[in-house]
Structure formats: structure tokens, C-alpha cells
């Protein structure tokens, strides 16, 4: 799939402001041509998470529009199309071992949402 390449730049960059986020839900940002789903969970530590927006099973850019929650404590988003779960920290699909979406390092610093280097 051609849409899940690495984000090229290694520098940190500002994605958006805190008030662009939606508490307990997701938004999508376009970064170096990649769609990144950013989730804001104000009660959690850390409060922001980012994974790719492309749903490899539903084959559409929709993960930012899923419902977030947990499975036995593991933070996940459920795809709005066919409801498979993706781990917010690793991008791993819970239902299918061989499916994984990219995960990104994001941080909330002051009012800014910052994207750091890609997770390994």
C-alpha cells in the first residue's frame, strides 16, 4: 500500500493547537503527504496519540473518525468501517496480527501538538 510510507523529515514539527483537538476523539493532520490520525485523551498520560489514518482493512482514510476506548486497559481506536481495533501506541491491529498501521510520536507541549521522530 502506497500511503503508509515514512514521514520524511526527522525534525519535530507543530501539527496543530490543543483547541484543534477533540477530547476523547480524533482529528486528522496532513504531514509530508501522510494522513496522521491524532487522538486526544485528556484523562490519560500522555494525553495525545497518533497513528496512520489509513484503515488497511476498510481501505479508506478513516481511522481518525473511530471511537476510542480500551480493551483490557490497552488504548485502541475502533475503525468506523468494520470496527477492527488498532493500538494507539503501536498501531497494531488487535484482531489481525499481520496488520499494523504506522505509529507516531506526538506530544502536547503547552498549547501545541508536536510531532517528534517516528516511532521505531
Amino acid at each position: 500500500m502506497s500511503t503508509a510510507e515514512n514521514i520524511q523529515s526527522n525534525e519535530t514539527q507543530v501539527i496543530c493547537q490543543r483547541n484543534d483537538l477533540i477530547a476523547n476523539s480524533g482529528i486528522c493532520a496532513l504531514i509530508d503527504g501522510q494522513q496522521v490520525a491524532v487522538f486526544y485523551l485528556p484523562e490519560e498520560e500522555p494525553p495525545v496519540y497518533a497513528i496512520g489514518n489509513w484503515d488497511p482493512l476498510g481501505k479508506a482514510n478513516v481511522l481518525s473518525r473511530g471511537i476510542v476506548g480500551d480493551i483490557q486497559g490497552q488504548l485502541v481506536v475502533a475503525s468506523p468501517l468494520y470496527k477492527q481495533h488498532f493500538d494507539l501506541i503501536t498501531g497494531q491491529c488487535v484482531e489481525q496480527d499481520e496488520i499494523k498501521v504506522p505509529a507516531y510520536n506526538v506530544e502536547l507541549i503547552g498549547e501545541q501538538v508536536i510531532l517528534a521522530n517516528r516511532n521505531s
Binding site: T3, C16, D20, Q35, I67, V68, P80
Partner: protein
């Protein structure tokens, strides 16, 4: 067969239980019951729910009609004032006389008001009957401060009520600690800490000497003067300083009473006159008054058995209790003060979490004698079973009360309990009884409840009962768990009741107090729907947004390529040419695929998320509203053209369909709702395949309920015939609200009815005969929802904050490049994956 005359004095909980048991026992008796209160028996144990909005009729344990059906001669609002034991006649205040062969005294008890000067002032109240609570509510309307005299179990319940009524609440207790009867010093101190943290001020070791009235400008207040010289000003005082048995009648006719009151009874519940029984809180057995309902019920059954020839005995009762006071869990089992000779106790106290536990064991460490639990009652059921059944304790009994992380004992599995173990003490149901109920065909918790009555009293045994039932069903390979998901151990119906009773308005509150974890895509939308059914807030309120499925969040249905469809409401399928033109123009402008749906309306497909607000603005300006095609809500009400045009039509089905659709639009429900109205029996609108369908007759309307098309079609059942407009709507209101309240998550009305115990007949009783006495409430709730309707799309496009959400990217105006269309039959359709790759490669 000659009937014996049985007269029962008092129609409280125990008096009622006696009547009910006797009527069902087969004893040839003519039963008369005389109650001083103006209404038939009600659930005093749950009295406080009156303040949470439970109506007197919902607290009722019986009705006049029910008594009539049983052949019981019942008189309410009249008290017995004299018993003539020689003539065997009782006389009432109202001058009626009744002859008896056997007399049963179930006069209960009354609140003790200490003889303090001023205690009879008009704002000094008590807490025992529905009328008392009505009075407290009335007097609290303009009050700011409330004082409860008495820090026992009932006093704290009263304090909770005052606090919920918005009063600044104080508890004044004569003794040095709260709930001295049930708790030890440590437990009592912890309880006080927790209660004070909730804003209730506690004053212990305080003796009230006088109460005076002061008159300010336009208001009258009370001042309490204490023995230590301090004073406390208040508006309302509720006395809850203990109860006293109502034994005056017994004394007057020379029956034996105890030195501190209470009618003496033997183990057959007979008083000193062998033709007179006493049961419940007026009775004294073994020097003890049993101030709980379970022992009272037991006495009632024992007294009935004397007439049926079974001659069972009353053997005293366990007074262990578990309850939530002001939101604090408190439990007390057996010898909570450790007074038994040689008793050893283990204490666990965690001041950070505010938990206190004490376990009292026998000298040899083998059996549990008692326990005190404050702040965490999760061990109560287990400890109670060890205590009641004398189960041998583990070698390290302290593990029973230690937190699990500290090596606490695993919970005593239901499987480990002996068949004789009492599971529900209110109704004396043992584990063996539950097993027989399951063997007898019961296959759900509800079945077991209705067949054994377990857990229908105080409800304290609910968790344990569920464990036993689950365990037994699992052992038989039956499906068990009814929990909605891993985050809530409740069904949707239970969550609905919790949210309603506790006025919970957000998911956060609900999961914090009644669930675990953060929720998921199952419970969040379900709770979102419950909250919407209850409070009808705008669903994109900040606190609700994260709960909604993407369809609800974006107020549109997501399609396979991530775009959305748009379905404006077209009530009854009727649409003007001008509006049709608007739909056509919008479809053309935004390049949308246009289709007539199976529900008599028009769907526009292929809108990108960022286009939705613009499209909806144009539609709303043209007078359209959202069609809720995305919601678990009312969808369409189809119509046929009806009497206006059709030569066979007998009623105006289009007008009715439009009325129905406008009335219920926006109603959130466990699953989608569909309806249709046909103008005659030819049924061109297919009303019999709908959740509620209406078919015109010469005289009015026939109502059909619980039909379904879809995966498993079901014909709707004929529910009522020849209704006038008003009755039709009334029944639909009740039906829908009853469904909304009681159905499971994603359960269509068809499946709901198939699972409803009692089926269609029961549904008729509830909706037509108002068997549950809830119809007024159902109608009121529907009216409030109808009255607070808003078109969610209108609200959304008017709010710039909400519109922020409708962007593909938070940081760019670009469009999603993988949303690509190709043309087919003159309209766009989503490109396949290969088509998309090809097109993207070409344009790159």
C-alpha cells in the same frame, strides 16, 4: 367448608406479606386488612427513592385491585383503635367493627421523637412514610439548612435525602459515633470522615435540650440549644432517633408486652392470647425487635403456617446489613463489636483510600463471627457466607480483608457454597432453591428472580445471586453473560435505570461510578443513546461527541470509501416539486450520486466530510431537516396516498404519517425505528412490516406493533383496533418509551417483543391497562423529548466550533486524494482500488 375470619391490623410491608402468603396458601380464610395509611402497602425499604423521583405508585407492593382479585377485604386510611378480646371484635377510628377468629397485628413501629421542648414545632419532621417524605419535600422548598437528629442507619439515609434536596445538612448524634449499633469505633470514625468529605456536618456527643422558633423578616427558623451551650440554627429538623414498636393497642387490651415495648411472641409468632399473632416490627421475640424487613417476612410466613397446619417456627434472624449511605458503602455482619468470648479481630485501615475493614473470628481462628466494612463492601458477600454457613476460614484469615495486591483471599466462588447457603435473606432463598429453579427450566437471571423472588427485596443479594446463577448456568453449558461489554457489568436496561435514577448526564460520570476502564465502541454509543433518550441533549455537545459512532458524529452515514451520504427528512414521503428541485440542484452542484431509497426518500451519496456543512446549509435554507438516517432513531414513516386521492382510502393516511414522523423525529432508541401508515386494508404502505404500523379502518386506526423487514422479517402483531387519533398517539408514545427503556442495545422491537416475558398480552397490559402504573411517566418523558427536538444539522451549522470538526485535515485544506469517483449510468460512483491507483498514477 367454613371460612375462618382473619383480620390483619396494619398494611405495611410485613402485613402485606402476610396477606399475600395467606391468600396463596390454600387456607380457607376470609381475609380483612385494615391499614392506617391512606394507601396500600409500599416498599418502605426503598422509601428514599421517592426523592429520586420514584412515584408512590412505583413504590407500591400491591394495589386495591390486586387485593380485590385475591378476595381480600381491604380498608385504608382507617386505624384500629380497640381490640375486644372477649367478643373477638376490633373497632376502627371510623367506627367500623370487624369480628375475627384469628387476629394478626402487623402495626410496625413509629419514629421515636425525644421529649425535647420544641420537638413538636411545625418544621420538626420524621422519616417513615410516604406522607412524611412529602412533608419533608414541601418544607425544604424554601429552606437552606436541614438537621437530622440521630446518626444511625436511618438518620444517615435521611441526611442523604436532605442533601439531595439541596439543603446544607447536619447530623446531630447523642452518642460518640455514627451507626453505633452496626459499626465499631474504627468503622464509625472512617464513616464520619467520608461523610464529612461529602459536605455533611457531623456533630457527635451532642444532646439537644430545647428547640426554639425565631421569627425573622418573613421567615421562621429553628434554633437548637445543646447541653454544652452551643446552638445551631436551621430551617428543618428531621428526627431519626430510633424506632418504637406500635404496641399501644396490645397494651390496651392486656396483651403481654416487653419492658421497653414490643408485643411478646413465641416461636409460632403467637402473643399471650393464642388467637392473636404479632409479626414485623411491632413484635418482640427473644427480647429483640427485628428492625429489618427480612425477619418480618419470616414471621409472616411462620404465622401463616400456624393456620395451614404446617406449624413452622421463627428462630430469630441474622441482622447483618450492607448498604450505601450518602454514596458510602457500609457493611456490618454478625458480632461487629467483637463481644463474643475470646474473639480475635483483624483490622485493615487505609486512610488514603478511606477504607476500613475489621474481621472478627472465633478464638480458634476457624470461623467468622462478624465483620465491619466501610468504604469498600466488595468482601461483604463472601464474609457473610462464611459467617452464616460456618465455613472454615483459611489458615490466614486476615487475607479475607486484605486488598488482592497484598495477597488477599480469592473470592469465595459461588460453586464453593453449600446448597443450604442462604443467598437472599429477604425472601429466604437458598442456593438449593436457585438450583431447582434452573433445573425447572429457568434459563436467565430474570427467570430465577421471578420464580424464587430472590433479590426482589432490599436488593442487597443481587451480586451474589448473579454469581450463583451464572455459575450454575455455566456448569450446564448455558450462555450467561449479559453485561454490555467489558467496561460495564450491566445490561443496557440496567444502565438506563442507573442513569435515570441517579440523573447521570455524562459517560464519564457513568463509567466512573458504575464501570471500569475507558469504554469502547460498544458501550459508548449505547450510553450516548441512553443519555439522549433521557435528556435529549444536542448529541454533538462536547461531552457526548466521543461517544458517537462516526455516523452520529458527522450526522451522516459513512460509505465504503470514507465519504458520506445525506438523507434529508421527507415526512410521509410527501415532497413538493420545489423541494425536489432543490435536491436535484444540490446533487448536481456537489456531484453526488442520487437515489430514491426503500424508505420513500432521497439519498445523496459521495459527500466529502468537509462538504457536509455546506450541503446541509443549502438544504436547511430550503426547509429540509435531518433524516436521522445515521442514528439509532426514528427513520421514515412511509405512507400511501390515502383517502385524499385513492378511491379506496378511508382515512387521510398522509396527514397521519406526517404527524407521526414529525412527532417522533429525533427520538433516540436502542435500534432504529420505522413506521408506516396505510389508508385502507390494501396496505400499500406495508405498515405490517414496521416497528409500529398504522392501518386505517372505517372507524379509526388499527395499530400493529413490532414488525420487521430486514434480515429476519416478522409480521407486526395487531395491538389495538379502531382507535381515535388521540388514543393512537397515546399508545404509540407509551409503546416507544417502554421499548426505549427496556430493550437491549441494538435490539429491534421485533426481537424485543419475542423476548418480552408475557409477550403481546403483557405489552397490552402495560400500555392499555397501565398495569405497571408507569404510563403517565412514559407519556411525560415522550412529551419532554418531543418538546426539546432540535434539528441537529441546523444546530451544527450555526456553531463555528462544531464545524471545525468537519475538516479532512486539521492543518490543510487539501482533500483526501484517495477519494476518487468514476462515472456510471450518468452518475458518480466510488472508484475501485485498482481504478484509484491507476487514476492517481496518471495524475502524478
Amino acid at each position: 367448608m367454613s371460612l375462618i375470619n382473619v383480620v390483619v391490623i396494619g398494611n405495611g410491608m410485613v402485613g402485606h406479606h402476610y396477606v399475600d402468603q395467606l391468600a396463596g396458601s390454600g387456607v380457607a380464610a376470609k381475609i380483612t386488612v385494615i391499614g392506617a395509611e391512606p394507601r396500600p402497602a409500599y416498599d418502605r425499604v426503598h422509601l428514599s427513592e421517592f426523592f429520586a423521583g420514584r412515584k408512590p405508585e412505583e413504590l407500591a407492593l400491591t394495589t386495591r385491585e390486586h387485593y380485590k382479585k385475591l378476595g381480600v377485604n381491604a380498608h385504608f386510611g382507617d386505624a384500629v383503635v380497640a381490640i375486644d378480646r372477649d367478643a373477638k371484635v376490633v373497632t376502627t377510628e371510623g367506627g367500623r367493627t370487624f369480628r375475627y377468629d384469628k387476629l394478626v397485628m402487623a402495626t410496625g413501629s413509629y419514629p421515636f421523637v425525644p421529649p425535647i421542648p420544641g420537638a413538636n414545632l411545625s418544621n420538626c419532621l420524621v422519616y417513615r412514610t410516604i406522607d412524611d417524605l412529602g412533608m419533608i419535600q414541601a418544607k425544604s422548598k424554601n429552606a437552606k439548612i436541614g438537621v437530622v437528629v440521630g446518626g444511625g442507619l436511618l438518620g444517615l439515609e435521611a441526611a442523604n435525602a436532605l442533601q439531595n434536596l439541596g439543603l446544607q445538612t447536619h447530623v446531630v448524634e447523642f452518642a460518640p459515633g455514627l451507626m453505633g449499633v452496626q459499626l465499631d469505633g474504627g468503622g464509625s470514625t472512617m464513616l464520619r470522615r467520608k461523610i464529612e468529605a461529602l459536605g455533611v456536618q457531623v456533630h457527635t456527643s451532642k444532646a439537644t435540650q430545647t428547640i426554639e422558633e425565631t421569627h425573622g423578616k418573613g421567615n421562621t427558623r429553628l434554633v437548637m440549644n445543646f447541653a454544652d451551650g452551643e446552638t445551631l440554627a436551621t430551617d428543618v429538623i428531621v428526627f431519626s432517633a430510633g424506632i418504637r414498636p406500635s404496641d399501644q393497642l396490645a397494651k390496651d387490651c392486656g396483651l403481654e408486652v416487653g419492658p421497653r415495648g414490643g408485643i411478646n411472641i413465641d416461636y409460632h409468632c403467637r402473643t399471650s392470647d393464642s388467637d392473636i399473632f404479632a409479626i414485623g416490627e411491632c413484635a418482640l421475640y427473644g427480647g429483640m425487635i427485628f428492625g429489618l424487613v427480612a425477619p418480618g417476612y419470616r414471621m409472616a410466613e411462620v404465622a401463616v403456617s400456624q393456620l395451614s397446619g404446617e406449624h413452622n417456627s421463627f428462630k430469630g434472624a441474622d441482622m447483618s446489613t450492607k448498604l450505601k449511605l450518602l454514596g458510602v458503602d457500609v457493611g456490618s455482619i454478625g458480632d461487629s463489636h467483637g463481644k463474643t468470648d475470646g474473639a480475635i479481630s483483624y483490622t485493615f485501615s487505609d486512610e488514603r483510600e478511606e477504607v476500613y475493614k475489621r474481621l472478627i473470628v472465633s478464638a480458634d481462628g476457624k470461623t467468622a463471627l462478624g465483620a465491619v466494612l466501610v468504604g469498600d463492601c466488595s468482601d461483604y458477600d463472601t464474609l457473610l457466607q462464611y459467617y452464616l454457613n460456618g465455613i472454615e476460614l483459611p489458615a490466614n484469615p486476615e487475607a479475607m480483608i486484605l486488598p488482592a495486591s497484598e495477597g488477599g483471599a480469592p473470592l469465595l466462588g459461588a460453586a464453593a457454597l453449600p446448597a443450604t447457603a442462604t443467598i437472599c435473606s429477604c425472601h429466604n432463598v437458598s442456593k438449593g432453591d436457585i438450583i431447582s429453579a434452573i433445573d425447572g427450566g429457568g434459563c436467565s437471571l430474570a427467570d430465577v428472580k421471578s420464580c424464587t423472588a430472590a433479590s426482589t427485596g432490599c436488593g442487597g443479594c443481587a451480586a451474589l445471586l448473579k454469581n450463583v446463577v451464572d455459575d450454575e448456568m455455566a456448569a450446564r453449558g448455558m450462555e450467561v453473560n449479559t453485561a454490555i461489554c467489558e467496561h460495564f457489568n450491566f445490561t443496557r436496561q440496567e444502565l438506563f435505570h442507573i442513569a435515570k435514577v441517579e440523573s447521570i448526564k455524562s459517560f464519564e460520570d457513568l463509567i466512573k461510578h458504575h464501570g471500569t476502564g475507558r469504554g469502547c465502541e460498544i458501550c459508548k454509543p449505547a450510553v450516548g443513546s441512553i443519555l439522549a433518550s433521557l435528556w435529549n441533549d444536542y448529541i454533538l455537545e462536547e461531552k457526548h461527541v466521543g461517544l458517537q459512532d462516526t455516523n452520529d458524529t458527522f450526522l451522516a452515514n459513512m460509505q465504503k470509501n470514507g465519504t458520506y451520504s445525506i438523507v434529508p427528512r421527507i415526512p410521509g414521503g410527501e415532497i413538493t416539486p420545489d423541494k425536489l428541485i432543490v435536491l436535484g440542484e444540490v446533487g448536481k452542484k456537489y456531484n453526488l450520486y442520487t437515489k430514491i431509497t426503500g424508505g420513500q426518500r432521497i439519498d445523496l451519496f459521495g459527500a466529502r466530510v468537509e462538504q457536509l456543512p455546506d450541503i446541509w446549509k443549502e438544504l436547511i435554507d430550503a426547509g429540509f431537516e435531518t433524516g436521522h438516517a445515521y442514528g439509532k432513531a426514528l427513520r421514515t414513516v412511509k405512507s400511501c396516498v390515502g383517502s385524499t386521492w385513492c378511491r379506496y382510502g378511508v382515512q387521510d393516511s398522509v396527514s397521519m404519517a406526517i404527524y407521526v414522523e414529525d412527532r417522533y423525529k429525533g427520538l433516540r432508541s436502542p435500534h432504529k425505528l420505522k413506521s408506516a401508515v396505510s389508508g385502507c386494508t390494501r396496505e400499500c404502505a406495508e405498515a405490517q412490516s414496521k416497528d409500529f404500523g398504522v392501518i386505517a379502518t372505517e372507524h379509526g386506526w388499527n395499530l400493529y406493533l413490532c414488525g420487521n423487514g430486514g434480515m429476519k422479517p416478522r409480521h407486526a402483531d395487531l395491538f389495538a383496533t379502531d382507535l381515535d387519533d388521540e388514543t393512537l398517539i397515546k399508545y404509540i408514545d407509551r409503546f416507544l418509551m417502554f421499548y426505549v427503556r427496556t430493550a437491549d442495545r441494538l435490539q429491534r422491537t421485533s426481537v424485543w417483543l419475542d423476548n418480552l416475558e408475557g409477550g403481546l398480552d403483557y405489552l397490552k397490559e402495560v400500555i392499555i391497562d397501565d398495569k405497571l402504573g408507569i404510563c403517565t411517566e412514559l407519556e411525560a418523558q415522550m412529551n419532554s423529548i418531543v418538546g426539546t427536538y432540535q434539528c441537529e444539522w441546523k444546530t451544527t451549522i450555526e456553531d463555528p466550533e462544531k464545524l471545525k470538526r468537519f475538516r479532512q485535515f486539521v492543518n490543510s485544506d487539501a482533500a483526501d486524494k484517495r477519494v476518487v469517483f468514476v462515472q456510471e449510468r450518468g452518475q458518480p460512483r466510488p472508484a475501485t482500488e485498482e481504478e484509484t491507483d491507476q487514476l492517481l498514477a496518471k495524475s502524478a
